[in-house]
Subunit: 295 residues, 2 copies
C-alpha cells in the first residue's frame, strides 16, 4: 500500500536553491563569497558535516577557509582563531561546528563571532531581533529558515494556519516558532513537559517535529491532511543494512504518510536544506558587503 | 449574581513586592538604588506614568533622577541624555518612557541604554537571551515578569499547563510567551490573524490577554475553571462617570468571572505589577553592583 502524502523533496528544493546561489555568486563582480569553518577536535560526525559544507561551497563557486584545532585547544586558542577570521576580509561567514569540547564555553565562543559574519544566526543579537516584531536579523538560523523555505516552495500558505512545533531547542524549536509567528501562523510550542502531546499535535495544520526522538510522532497523532516537516535525524538499528543502522526522523514516516497531505522524508527532507541555507546566509552577507563597497 | 472566579488582587500582590523591595533597599550598605526616567515631550499619559514611577521609587526608599526633554528634542539630544545616565554611577536603571515622538528612532534610543541598566528589558541582547534556553537575561521585561509573578504568588502551577497568549507585541505577547515556555507551559501564541480565536482561547488552562481591544474575550471563549490574566487597559465611554469613561481590559470581566476560576481585574490587576517589577529590576541591578564592589 502506498501512502497518500505528497513527498516534500528537500534534496530537489535544496538543489534548486544552490543553483540560485551559484548564479548569484557568479554574478558578483568584486567579491568571492567565503565561508570559514572552525572544527575543534575530531568527532567523526562533525568532521563529516564540515567536509560536506566545504564541498558545497566549491560546488557553488564559493571560497572556503578551514581552521582545525585539536580537542586539547584552550578556549583562548579557539577565541583567537575566531577573531582572526573576524578580521579576515575574504571571510563573509564563520561557522563554528558544534558541539565544542566540554571544557570550552560555547556561549562565549558563539558570541565572539562578529555579528556581520554570524551565518549560523545563533548570536544573541540575531536571536533577539528574530524574537521581536519589526526587527530584521542579519541572519536567520539555517535549519529553521530551511523549514520555512520547504513550506513556501511547496506552495503551502502559512498565514492563519495552526502550527505545532514539537521541541524548544535554541537551534530549531524556538527560532522556527518565532519565524512562523512572523509569518502569521498560530503557533503552539510543545515539548517534553506537554501534558497531552498527541492531542496537541492533532490540532496542527502544520507539524514541525524537532525533538530528536526516533519515530515518536505516530499516525494517530496527526490530523488527516496535515503537513509534516520532520527535522529529526536519528539512527535506528537495522540488521538489513551493512552499517547496522538506518536514519529515521522524529516522525513515524510509514504511518504518517498515510494520514498527512505532505511530508518530508528522512533523509532527504530538512537535512539538505540546512547546508543550502548556510550558503545562502553567507552569500547574502557577501552581497551586503559588495553593496557597501559600491556605495 | 456574583461571579465564581477568585480575584487575583494585583494591587495587594504589588504592595507585597514593594515591601520586599523596600526591605532590600534598606538592607543595602553601600549603594542607594537609583532609577532614571527620561521623558521626551509632554503627553499626558506618559507624564502620569513617569510621575507614578518617581513616587514609587520614593516609597521604596530609592533615588530617582528625571530628565525631561521638549518634544522638539533631536535624536542626538535624547541619545546624549541616555549616555550621560549610562555613565552616572548613581543610576542603576534607565527607563525611557515610550512612545517617543515620531521623528526619533525608538530602536536606536533603546539600544543605546547600557545593557546593565536596561531595567525595561527591551534591549535586543536581553530579549535574545530571554528567547533562548539556558541563557539568563540581566532583566526580564516588567509586564511579562509581572504576569508570571501574579500566577506564582496566586499558587498557580504553570508547568504542563496549556497557555494561550493573545497578542504578539514586543512589550508583552512575545516576551511573556518566552517566559512561560521556560516555565514548562505549553504555549500557543494567538493574534489577529488566528483563524478561530475563540476556539483557540477555549483550549487554555491559562489565558494571557494582551491585544489592546476592549472586552474582546467573551464568556463563551473561555474554558470553565481557567485562569485569566488581563493585560489590557482600554478606556470605554461611560456616562455614569465624571470623566465620561472607565477603564476596561481585553476581557469581558463580568462574563468571564462566571466561567473562570481566577481572574485579574482591570484596573488593579496587571497594572500595579508593571511598576513593582520595574523597581525590582532596578534594585536587582543595584544589588549586583554592590556585590561587585564587595568582591
Amino acid at each position: 500500500m502506498s501512502g497518500g502524502a505528497k513527498l516534500i523533496d528537500g534534496k530537489a528544493i535544496a538543489a534548486e536553491i544552490r543553483t540560485e546561489i551559484k548564479h548569484d555568486v557568479e554574478s558578483m563582480k568584486r567579491i568571492v563569497p567565503g565561508l570559514a569553518t572552525v572544527l575543534v577536535g575530531e568527532r567523526t560526525d562533525s568532521s563529516t558535516y564540515v567536509r560536506m559544507k566545504i564541498k558545497a561551497c566549491k560546488e557553488c563557486s564559493m571560497n572556503s577557509i578551514h581552521r582545525s584545532l585539536p580537542d586539547t585547544a584552550s578556549e583562548e586558542e579557539v577565541l583567537q582563531a575566531v577573531e582572526e577570521l573576524n578580521r579576515d576580509e575574504s571571510v563573509h561567514g564563520i561557522l563554528v561546528q558544534l558541539p565544542l569540547p566540554s571544557h570550552i564555553n560555547e556561549e562565549r565562543i558563539l558570541s565572539s563571532v562578529s555579528i556581520e559574519k554570524d551565518v549560523d544566526g545563533f548570536h544573541v543579537v540575531n536571536i533577539g531581533k528574530l524574537a521581536m516584531k519589526g526587527r530584521t536579523p542579519l541572519f536567520v538560523p539555517c535549519t529553521p529558515r530551511g523549514c520555512v523555505e520547504l513550506l513556501k516552495r511547496s506552495g503551502v500558505q502559512i498565514a492563519g494556519k495552526e502550527v505545532v512545533v514539537i521541541g524548544r531547542s535554541n537551534i530549531v524549536g524556538l527560532p522556527v516558532s518565532m519565524l512562523l509567528i512572523h509569518e502569521n501562523a498560530t503557533v503552539t510550542i510543545a515539548h517534553s513537559r506537554t501534558a497531552d502531546l498527541p492531542g496537541v499535535v492533532r490540532r496542527a495544520d502544520i507539524v514541525i517535529a524537532a525533538v530528536g526522538r526516533s519515530e515518536m510522532v505516530k499516525g494517530d497523532w496527526v490530523k488527516p491532511g496535515c503537513i509534516i516537516i520532520d527535522v529529526g535525524i536519528n539512527s535506528k538499528p537495522d540488521s538489513s543494512k551493512k552499517s547496522g543502522y538506518r536514519l529515521v526522523g522524529d516522525v513515524d514516516f510509514e504511518e504518517c504518510r498515510k494520514i498527512a497531505s505532505m511530508i518530508t522524508p528522512v533523509p532527504g527532507g530538512v537535512g539538505p536544506m540546512t547546508i543550502a541555507m548556510l550558503l545562502r546566509n553567507c552569500v547574502d552577507a557577501a552581497m551586503r558587503k559588495e553593496r557597501e563597497v559600491n556605495e
